[in-house]
């Protein structure tokens, strides 16, 4: 989200789900939408079948939604900036960019031009780099740029790279160049992967910002929170999750408090994570289950499930929606906020929330975007932030007349190769992701046997590679990288490019993140899950 925040001034899906049907063209890049966001995929497919919308799919796997596409192409993983720069070159060379829009609403066009017009981004050259035929690149550029309204939808396929911020910025560049921001049906639309990842970010579950993206280190912000909370606060930006693991590994971080997360399976380079967790002097895990991470904990605190509590989730389109309690938690299980309040008070503090609604009121006071999203106003169908006041109707799409930062900022982004490329020893590119039937580290989805019956661990390889290595479908194979190895049945398909291997990361018995590269994006600190070098072997 860092790229988006820098270019547009706000890091969230700019448009809403209902607006999907307004788009003439939708580009899906780095999102296996039908698997990871099935209901949004349904809305996109509806738009296609209704005849108005055409879609372009760019993905190393021929994902299900490619069936609905006007154009489908596979890029070599990690070449997104090159591809998007190339599209922009074609657009500018043909004069298809939104000229008035650029003049009135953007800055940095000359700088962008200087980068993307470089000969190395010519379609012919990018064909060599990305594997996408030059003619297809030109066709995509034309279709996209000439659309009245075009949207880009992406997910972790764009962000989980050492160049993740660059990738996001490139997408934003493309959308600004074509004038697709600030209108219904357009936009830059990162699909958020977890039920309340948007809310966790909005609520300041980040080391550099307070709730509402108010910057740590900004004296006015610090003063605001110090006044509200009646305590001195640290002006120092904190550390990210990967840095926490590194810190624990190095002995600088002594205690970690984990609420409802499972870094054991979700973080890169699992062996490194294990050592770090072992070294942590005091680890507290608050969860519904003894997760793989909780095995390392000194104290585990049982927490309530979503159906057992009240509160709000904020979805990928910034819609704040109410959770209602449907069942009682098991005896002796408390909700997360109750537990946190207990700890705070046991440490000698003075907390006194009587209900969830008390917290909601405090959010309303301290988070400008949530100012009008009060307990009583949310209603059955929710409200979309920004919604600063109690009379504000909420905001279906952002940047309507101006960008959050004023002028939208175009920026030339240079293409950089991924951190780890295939070589003789590790000749394959490994990329990771999700399947429809499982979720994240499996803590929730794997408790339903039917889902496990439908989708177990697998290593997806191309039919051509399988032929070459003599691997049969469903045959157990070994996949290794410089960081470790896993074994799982091969899933042989023509839907993936030769030389590329795909592994879903849900399974503790075949954890993809034992293999992944912990190299991170320098700005957003996201690890490069989508590209690393790997070796595939027959076991027998």
């Amino acid at each position: 989200m860092a790229g988006l925040a820098a270019s547009l001034g706000s890091g969230a899906m700019t448009n809403d789900i209902a607006g999907i049907k307004e788009a003439d063209v939708i580009m899906i890049i780095g999102s296996d939408t039908t698997a990871a966001h099935p209901v949004i995929a349904a809305r996109i497919k509806q738009a296609v079948r209704e005849g108005k919308t055409k879609i372009i799919v760019i993905d190393p796997k021929q994902i299900d939604i490619a069936k609905f596409s006007e154009i489908y192409v596979a890029q070599r993983p990690g070449t997104d900036v090159a591809v998007i720069n190339c599209l922009m070159q074609v657009i500018i060379k043909n004069g298809w960019e939104a000229k008035d829009y650029i003049k009135e609403r953007l800055e940095g066009f000359e700088e962008l031009k200087a980068e993307v017009l470089k000969p190395k981004y010519s379609p012919e050259n990018i064909e060599k780099i990305s594997g996408i035929p030059a003619a297809s690149l030109i066709q995509i550029a034309e279709m996209f740029a000439k659309a009245e309204t075009a949207a880009v939808f992406y997910a972790m396929g764009i962000t989980q790279h050492t160049t993740g911020t660059d990738n996001v910025w490139s997408v934003a560049n493309l959308q600004m160049l074509c004038g697709n921001l600030g209108k219904p049906g357009g936009g830059v639309n990162p699909l958020r992967g977890q039920s309340n990842v948007q809310g966790a970010c909005d609520m300041g579950g980040l080391p550099n910002v307070y709730p509402g993206y108010q910057k740590v280190g900004d004296p006015a912000v610090q003063e605001k929170f110090e006044k509200a909370w009646g305590k001195k606060l640290s002006p120092k930006v904190g550390i990210t999750i990967t840095e926490m693991i590194d810190g624990a590994y190095d002995g600088k971080v002594k205690a970690i408090y984990v609420m409802g997360e499972n870094p054991y399976l979700s973080d890169p380079d699992q062996n490194h994570v294990i050592t770090a967790l072992e070294k942590t002097e005091f680890l507290v895990v608050q969860d519904m289950f003894i997760t793989e991470t909780a095995e390392f904990a000194d104290v585990i605190l049982p927490a309530a499930a979503y159906a057992e509590k009240e509160g709000h989730f904020t979805n990928t389109e910034r819609r704040v929606q109410r959770l209602q309690q449907a069942v009682n938690p098991p005896l002796d299980v408390k909700t997360d906020w109750e537990i946190i309040q207990l700890i705070a008070n046991a440490m000698g503090s003075d907390w006194n929330y009587q209900s969830v609604a008390d917290i909601t009121s405090e959010i309303n006071l301290l988070t400008p975007q949530y100012g009008g999203i009060t307990w009583d106003r949310v209603g059955r169908l929710g409200l979309q932030w920004p919604c600063p006041t109690e009379t504000h109707p909420g905001t279906p799409y952002l940047h309507k007349d101006r960008f959050a930062r004023g002028l939208g900022l175009l920026k030339g982004i240079e293409f950089k190769e991924p951190n780890e490329l295939p070589d003789e020893e590790f000749p394959f590119i490994l990329t990771t992701g999700r399947v429809l039937q499982q979720f994240h580290t499996g803590t929730m989805s794997r408790k339903t046997q039917g889902l496990n019956n439908l989708a177990g661990p697998m290593i997806m390889i191309s039919a051509a590679d399988a032929d070459k290595l003599g691997i049969e479908n469903s045959e157990k194979v070994r996949l290794s990288t410089r960081r470790g190895e896993i074994e799982a049945p091969a899933f042989v398909t023509r839907r993936i490019s030769q030389g590329v291997i795909y592994v879903p990361f849900h399974y503790k018995e075949a954890p993809a993140n034992r293999l992944t590269n912990p190299a991170i994006d320098p700005v957003a600190k996201i690890p490069e899950y989508k590209v690393c070098a790997a070796k595939l072997e027959k076991i027998s």
């Binding site: 989200m1 209902a18 099935p38 209901v39 949004i40 989980q160 958020r192 977890q194 909005d202 579950g205 980040l206 709730p211 606060l233 640290s234 120092k236 904190g238 550390i239 999750i241 624990a248 600088k252 971080v253 205690a255 970690i256 409802g260 997360e261 870094p263 002097e281 005091f282 507290v284 519904m288 289950f289 104290v299 049982p302 499930a305 509590k309 509160g311 989730f313 979805n315 389109e317 819609r319 704040v320 959770l323 209602q324 449907a326 069942v327 408390k334 997360d336 946190i340 705070a344 503090s349 969830v356 405090e362 959010i363 059955r380 169908l381 979720f439 929730m444 600190k525 996201i526 899950y529």
Partner: protein, 351 residues
């Protein structure tokens, strides 16, 4: 505009159909194939009414209102026609309510109730349709199917998975998956849209069978705990047993319009999993043991205080969660920032 139904005047808007205006005003007209999310199909023909100035009977589900339209829904002739349509449907399927999962939530039953059909008047042999239990989460009982087509529209136009369609002809018409494959081996992804739309007990939630009558279940709306789309769920709960029996999508939600995926609809077992933690646990000599809350909380608080004292606030880090509420994340970061005194708070947004 206004229309008259059975002699009384009602407000209507031009985009409405006669059936919509009637239902909105509590005037029941039997209908089996109309659903707000699949639109009028005029297939079941049970919703016929009489309209002044029009020849014969009209299906009300696809009849747009006109100003001053005069509609009769309950004359003997109209009800006789409706009754015959519903009777024919009842006569040509295995509609035994006693153990049917849909009992109490069945639109065919509603129609029969309204029209006073106690037993079907005719009995014909129906094709031998074996129960299709090949899929993980859905039972297909074709002998209860009334070919209303809602599942077909739902699968093709709502979730656009394009798996279900009608095959064969006439009385042999049945819904099929792909080229008439068992549901479990077809390309169906078990999103359950068809189950949600089925007016009878032909497509049902396999695991909910026998677990609770609809009228005994409380319905509570909340938000799906899986991906970030934020689909609104309707949880059907046996409150006495404190158990979620089944989940449906909230039909008027702007995010999901009633649709769900296989995880959101069927992946709720974790809530009642025997593996759930029910007591705090403390590690002693490398082994976890159960503890009371006081002990666990005091231990956490004292250890945090010690470490902060000894190594400084920045030696403590916290992971908030993309899976808990805004309120919980808010107090978590407040805890880290205010009580611990560090900005070392993050979560797995990136992972």
């Amino acid at each position: 505009m206004k229309i008259m139904i059975n002699g009384k005047s009602y407000q209507a808007s031009p985009s409405e159909t006669v059936l919509q205006v009637a239902l909105r005003n509590g005037i029941y007209i039997p209908h089996l194939c109309y659903h707000q999310r699949t639109g009028p199909a005029a297939k079941c023909r049970a919703c016929v009414v009489q309209v002044e100035g029009m020849n014969g009977l009209q299906t009300s589900c696809n009849l747009s209102v006109r100003d001053n339209m005069k509609v009769i829904t309950d004359s003997p002739a109209v009800k006789a026609a409706q009754k015959m349509v519903v009777d024919l449907a009842l006569s040509t399927g295995k509609h035994d309510c006693l153990a049917c999962e849909q009992n109490g939530d069945c639109e065919l039953q509603d129609a029969a109730y309204y029209l006073g059909i106690e037993h079907p008047s005719y009995q014909v042999e129906i094709p031998d349709y074996p129960l299709d239990d090949s899929s993980e989460f859905i039972y297909v009982e074709r002998d209860k199917c009334i070919s209303c087509g809602r599942c077909v529209v739902g699968c093709n136009q709502n979730v656009v998975n394009e798996v279900i369609n009608f095959a064969y002809r006439g009385f042999e018409t049945k819904i099929v998956f792909d080229q008439d494959l068992p549901m479990g081996t077809s390309s169906c992804v078990q999103c359950g849209e068809c189950v949600q739309l089925c007016p009878v007990g032909a497509l049902i939630d396999k695991r909910a069978r026998g677990k609770g009558r609809p009228w005994n279940l409380e319905k509570i709306e909340t938000v799906c705990p899986y991906c970030g789309v934020g689909c609104k769920l309707e949880l059907h709960v046996d409150t006495l047993k404190n158990e979620i029996i089944r989940i449906k999508g909230v039909e008027d939600s702007p995010t999901n319009e009633g649709m769900l995926c296989v995880k959101g609809r069927y992946g709720f077992d974790f809530v009642h999993s025997p593996e759930r933690l029910t007591k705090p646990m403390i590690k002693e000599n490398g082994q976890l043991r159960e503890a009371e809350w006081d002990e666990a909380i005091n231990l956490v608080a004292s250890r945090f205080n010690e470490i902060i004292e000894k190594h400084g606030s920045d030696s403590v880090a916290g992971l908030a969660s993309a899976k808990v509420t805004n309120e919980e994340n808010f107090v978590f970061q407040k805890f880290m920032r205010r009580e611990v005194g560090t900005n070392n708070v993050d979560h797995c947004a990136r992972l």
